[in-house]
């Protein structure tokens, strides 16, 4: 028996402004807070979208979300929403913006709660508050528009990424406008696209996986292998961008209803220490985790299923293992296959971090769902190989 959670409504159409108008009108919402970051707020399409929303609701703006936001962002958003009398928070941006909006919603409806108390099955007061969370993702990666997770950075004695989750924080609606991710820089499109692959492959072999999460994972993996190479090569069609956009949401639904694993458990502390984009770091670690997890017969069977699918259905050349296919994809999209190839990571700096990152990874909640229970030495070994 499993419990599953999804957004109530998903709009997949090339006009986010029109979708928002319909949604707000349907729900009789006349006051909203739009949460975004300085880059998105300067874009023309964003201003056009706001005009659409303004035709049906009073709009207040919070444009101060920074990349990898800290816990303090929640109070700022909650305060802005309270002042605006907002009946909906509309997050327009990548995973950082959507996660910030989720944390702000928690503080809006439950000002006394500590974000550390956000947990699955714990009532946090969002449901029943009457305030809707609507996500308009502008990248195709985090899946936060369909997930129950929040990743925030705690800046005390260094940087620590903290993953939290509650079923109450799955957005009410996700609005997927496939024109928006085209504004991403190419490198970000690749990093976020490979994050989709990591979400899907980790959800597929999670100990909590189930037929629904498997179906979502497998389709999302197929979409990444089919469409990301053309986007990375600068020849992405409208269809390529659209398919990657919905793949990200499908992968978000997959891991919300299954779990993530060791690649994410490693990427959270490693990315925080090195200051490298999450998708880039998790993708780089992923093939080494696939190799490690292959000692689980259940995981290996699913990896082989994906390998066979890639070779027989997508026409990929035969390779020795799934991780070989993943590495071939990386070479095809111009993504490093080793951490040493990422700018700014010296060997000395990296070797000095291994034990500490391995210890932190062992304490990451995502490790709970990995198909193989690693020791701290196993993780350190993966980290050394990945360099």
């Amino acid at each position: 028996m499993v419990e599953l959670g999804f957004p109530r409504r998903i709009f997949f159409r090339e006009d986010a402004g029109e979708a928002l108008k319909m949604l707000l009108s349907d729900r009789g919402i006349d006051s909203v807070l739009v949460v975004t970051d300085p880059v998105v707020s300067s874009m023309h399409w964003f201003k056009d979208m706001l005009e659409s929303v303004k035709s049906v609701a009073r709009v207040s703006l919070y444009t101060g979300v920074e990349p990898e936001p800290g816990f303090e962002v929640a109070d700022g958003i909650a305060s802005a929403a309270r002042e605006a009398g907002a009946r909906a928070i509309i997050a327009v941006g990548g995973g950082s913006v959507i996660d910030a909006a989720k944390s702000g919603l928690v503080k809006l409806v439950n000002p006394k709660i500590s974000l550390d108390q956000v947990a699955p099955f714990t009532s946090i007061g969002v449901e029943g508050s009457g305030v809707l969370l609507v996500a308009v993702p502008t990248t195709s990666g985090s899946g936060s528009d369909a997930s129950y997770g929040i990743v925030l950075t705690r800046r005390v004695d260094g940087r620590e990424k903290v993953a939290l989750g509650s079923y109450e924080l799955i957005p009410y609606a996700s609005i997927l406008d496939p024109r928006l991710p085209k504004f991403m820089p190419r490198r970000l499109a690749i990093g976020t696209g490979l994050d989709v692959l990591a979400h899907s492959l980790e959800a597929l072999v999670s100990i909590n996986s189930n037929p629904v999460s498997d179906a979502l994972s497998l389709k999302a993996i197929e979409l990444v292998f089919r469409h990301l190479p053309r986007i990375a090569g600068g020849e992405g069609s409208d269809d390529d961008w659209a398919m990657m956009h919905i793949a990200a949401t499908m992968a978000g639904m997959a891991f919300t209803n299954s779990g993530l694993g060791l690649a994410h458990a490693i990427a959270h502390p490693l990315g925080a220490r090195l200051g490298i984009h999450h998708g880039t770091i998790v993708a780089t670690v992923l093939p080494y985790v696939i190799e490690y997890n292959s000692r689980s017969p259940e995981a290996l069977s699913k990896y082989r299923y994906v390998k066979d699918f890639l070779e027989k259905m997508l026409g990929a050349p035969e390779r020795g293992s799934l991780e070989d296919h993943v590495r071939a994809l990386y070479r095809g999209v111009g993504h490093p296959v080793r951490l040493r190839d990422l700018a700014g990571v010296s060997e000395e700096e990296y070797r000095g971090l291994v034990d500490e990152v391995a210890e932190s990874a062992l304490r990451d909640p995502d490790i709970a769902f990995n198909p193989v229970v690693p020791t701290v030495d196993d993780i350190a070994d993966i980290l050394r190989k990945a360099y």
């Binding site: 028996m1 499993v2 419990e3 550390d116 108390q117 956000v118 947990a119 699955p120 099955f121 714990t122 939290l164 989750g165 100990i207 909590n208 779990g259 062992l362 304490r363 990451d364 909640p365 490790i367 709970a368 769902f369 229970v373 690693p374 701290v376």
Partner: protein, 137 residues
């Protein structure tokens, strides 16, 4: 002959074995909270005083309905038997609400998932005694 689960003797032996597990000592480092394990259909239970990878003591309750601890995990006898015998992963059991976190922070428990798995591993070594039928204190 093993000790029957649940029973005072089982809980005491479990705490002793847990305290001597090097893997638990390492994976449970940093954990500070006593955990009350309740068998919902018999009302029995026991609290393990866990701290920094050690099990410092155990308290048995013939009637655990009013017992308290910072973390309380409860399930029917059948579900505990499923977990201890290894037929279901304890973390999957938590996420599917077959083990109920009556009190405590599930996020914190997930951060100690390796310790949780080691606790099950140690319980498996101890076994369920005579087929896990409920016993007294």
């Amino acid at each position: 002959m093993g000790y029957r689960f649940p029973s005072r003797e089982w809980a005491e032996e479990y705490c002793r074995l847990l305290d001597s597990s090097q893997r638990y000592r390492s994976s449970g480092r940093g954990w500070k909270y006593p955990i009350l394990f309740k068998v919902a259909d018999t009302n029995q239970g026991f609290t393990l005083y866990l701290e920094d990878g050690r099990c410092l003591g155990v308290e048995w309750y013939d009637d655990a309905s009013s017992a308290d601890a910072p973390v309380i995990i409860s399930a029917s006898l059948d579900e505990w038997v499923e977990v201890i015998s290894g037929r279901i992963n304890p973390l999957t059991a938590i996420m599917r609400r077959r083990l109920k976190i009556e009190k405590g922070d599930i996020s914190l428990i997930l951060r100690y998932s390796i310790a949780a798995l080691e606790m099950v591993h140690v319980a498996q070594k101890l076994g369920l005694g005579s087929s896990g039928e409920g016993g007294g204190g």
